[in-house]
Symmetry: C2
Subunit: 156 residues, 2 copies
Amino acid sequence: MNEIDWMKKAILQAKVAMKKNEVPIGCVIVRDGKIIARAHNLRESQQIATKHAELIAIERACKKLKTWRLEDCDLYVTLEPCPMCAGAIILSRIRSVTFGAYDPKGGCAGSCTDLFHVKGFNHYPEVHGGILEEECAQLLKDFFRQKRKEKKKNRL
Amino acid sequence: MNEIDWMKKAILQAKVAMKKNEVPIGCVIVRDGKIIARAHNLRESQQIATKHAELIAIERACKKLKTWRLEDCDLYVTLEPCPMCAGAIILSRIRSVTFGAYDPKGGCAGSCTDLFHVKGFNHYPEVHGGILEEECAQLLKDFFRQKRKEKKKNRL
């Protein structure tokens, strides 16, 4: 298994979100060659602002390992992390973060700001961006195109 | 009730954390002159990296109001928000954030970086810092002094 394989697993999670009418973003956390947590965006169904794929996956990984320190874990997510999720990755000391599509409207691995290289923080994960970028971005494009269509139809 | 009064309520929450041997940070969320959520840091007791006072309070407020949008809510917290909590404040569209002590090691309202003024984000809360700063900082100083004492004792 390499980063492409793990990203495919994250994409599967994004597709689960899509089926639930959630913005299609998925995440897996890997340790010792095994997925220890998987999650997808659940903001709309739960109506809780914090229910992003990465945050849910990090909480599941902490529960599974019974520690808030995820030092030997690697996170794979289909979209560049937002400030909250980038922050949670830093706080949980995750070793590396690999993301698919870039997010010009909120990405915190360089697009809007770069939280992974702020002087003063006490942890700096490795960062890899643009893995299966096109496939990850296409899911989001399809979702928002569908949403616009529904909106237009409702207006008629 | 003014910002000093609400900060005193947040300090009460920080003191609850202290009694549980957690880093003493507390938070309240106010809407229409009433506290709708209160929380304190629970990272150590739950062993989950995301269990910061603000994040727990935001989740409680969303559950209470049954919406992820907290547009007419104001958040009071004893310490300058970390990247994760600053992100959660932005995502939940909280109207204003008022904090007590500044955090040179992780604060994201200007100390390490300023997440509340990043170009491209879709929400910019009002920010007030340094409210009852000394009292909020003293709690943290007392906590870490005690921790160092315990460590020294255990080494003897």
